[in-house]
């Protein structure tokens, strides 16, 4: 894409992005709730709801991790709030997934839940993936960015990479035998993380890191544009 087509597309994308994201985030939840209430989720609706909420959490996590590479490639700093939006949506689905597990699947059977978390480490990994999102969701406001400072905030929010790895591992081992889907997600996350490493190395080669960390020149590392 040439820079002129990019700049021509920018206003349109910028205007349309939020409604599209709202739709993308609300549609699965609306569908799943409607399907649950109208008995359209098959013979084992609880299992289906559990799996779908988990898959949507991973999809939205992948989407939110795609924003930064997109910003790097386009230079569109206004994508930063979209990243926050997708991150919070991910947290919403991950929390729903955990709630379906605790409420619908096990119906507060704490003995079994505790046993599951302690004995099966891919369940532990799933719980870790959601738990690590809690501080990220809590510090998603502009105020907490100011309070933490941009650099510390960025470091804290790198926890999302741990969440992505833990979530992928959780999915892989939750599947009985056909691991096609978990592998697709794992490859996607690996690519998204690899982009960051490659980009950082290239950036380190071409220009020195900014000396004053409080005023990062790089729009992507500025939490709110």
């Amino acid at each position: 894409m040439t820079s002129t087509t990019l700049s021509r597309a920018e206003p349109l994308v910028r205007r349309g992005v939020r409604p599209v994201l709202w739709l993308a985030v609300l549609a699965p939840a609306a569908y799943l709730i409607t399907a649950l209430l109208t008995d359209q989720l098959g013979a084992n609706p609880i299992e289906e709801l559990e799996r779908e909420s988990g898959r949507w959490a991973l999809r939205l996590l992948a989407a939110s991790l795609t924003v930064t590479p997109l910003m790097r490639l386009t230079g569109w700093g206004w994508l930063v709030p979209q990243r926050r939006f997708l991150g919070l949506a991910t947290f919403f689905y991950a929390l729903s997934h955990l709630s379906v597990y605790m409420v619908l699947d096990w119906f507060f059977d704490w003995d079994e839940i505790l046993k599951d978390v302690v004995e099966h480490w891919y369940i532990t990994a799933g719980l870790l993936a959601v738990t690590l999102m809690i501080p990220l969701a809590l510090t998603s406001t502009k105020r907490s960015i100011r309070w933490l400072g941009g650099k510390r905030w960025t470091t804290l929010h790198r926890l999302v990479y741990v969440s992505a790895v833990a979530g992928s591992v959780h999915f892989y081992f939750a599947v009985k035998k056909d691991v096609t889907q978990p592998i697709i997600y794992a490859v996607l996350f690996a690519a998204l993380l690899a982009f960051r490493i490659v980009w950082k190395r290239r950036a380190a080669k071409t220009r020195p890191a900014p000396a004053d960390s409080r005023k990062p020149r790089d729009p992507v590392n500025t939490p709110v544009a």
Binding site: G42, A43, N44, I46, E47, L104, W106, F107, D109, E112, K115, D116, E119, H120, Y122, F173, A174, K176, K177, D178
Partner: protein, 308 residues
Amino acid sequence: MHIRRPDDIPSSEITSESSYINRRSFMETAGALALGGLIAPTALPAMACAPAEGLTQDEKITDEDDATSYNNYYEFGTGKEDPKEQAKKFRPMPWTVNVEGMVKTPRPFSFDDLVGKLAVQDRVYRHRCVEAWSMVIPWQGVQLRDVIARCQPLPSAKFVEFTTLYDPQRMPGQARSVLPWPYREALRMDEAMNSLTLLATGMYGKALPNQNGAPLRLVVPWKYGFKGIKGIVKLRFTDKSPQTTWNDAIPSEYGFYGNVNPAVDHPRWSQAKERRIGQFLKVATLPFNGYANQVASMYSGMDLRKFY
């Protein structure tokens, strides 16, 4: 119609009044929709004469729709709803079963030749999947031991091995090597001869649906569902413990025996409870899926943690 029932198994274990009543109510609702007319007349007498007990009062027969749309049959896809869709075009007949190994005369049997002349059994069994869900299913079929008698195995035979059809043209799931095809299962001879063990040819009073293993599948109600091999084309008698598919694929998770056992967890999940399809709360899983009285003695002295 002559219905024979073995003496050593209480009729209560076969069909309870509650399940009979539930079946009636199911038929009353569905029957109006042309279902009733299709139910084989052979299905009804055995159910009508069964006393209460056996299955507990709250054990209802699983919705036929659920039992025929939520299937593990990787030959037709790995998703639960795949088999119903992908097996639509499957035409099981004509069907041949090869009888091989330690038998008087190894030979192919036509479907009718193998099971057509045997007494039809009606059995309502709990079906417990290794994935911790379960159903209650009314099967029609023949006792495996009657089939074995027709095969005339040699006294030296200690196991019977079953093989599913391998035909990727007709079973699209076999195009991917998710499992080492063809699917194989096996029973020890005493397990095979147990009067609970069924070769099912029908369920819910109809011919076995493709997605449930048409035209011939194994039903071993005290074992996890993966032992219930579908689309059987071969019976081989042997004196050596046969390789079985899931045990081959993941030996740490699936053993040769596959007996339902709430005390021995799957490495990745608990087997203590199960979700009965159609119910919200999980129920406790019973040793040998509630058939301990009929089968536990076959395993006395065995370490069931080791032989899972």
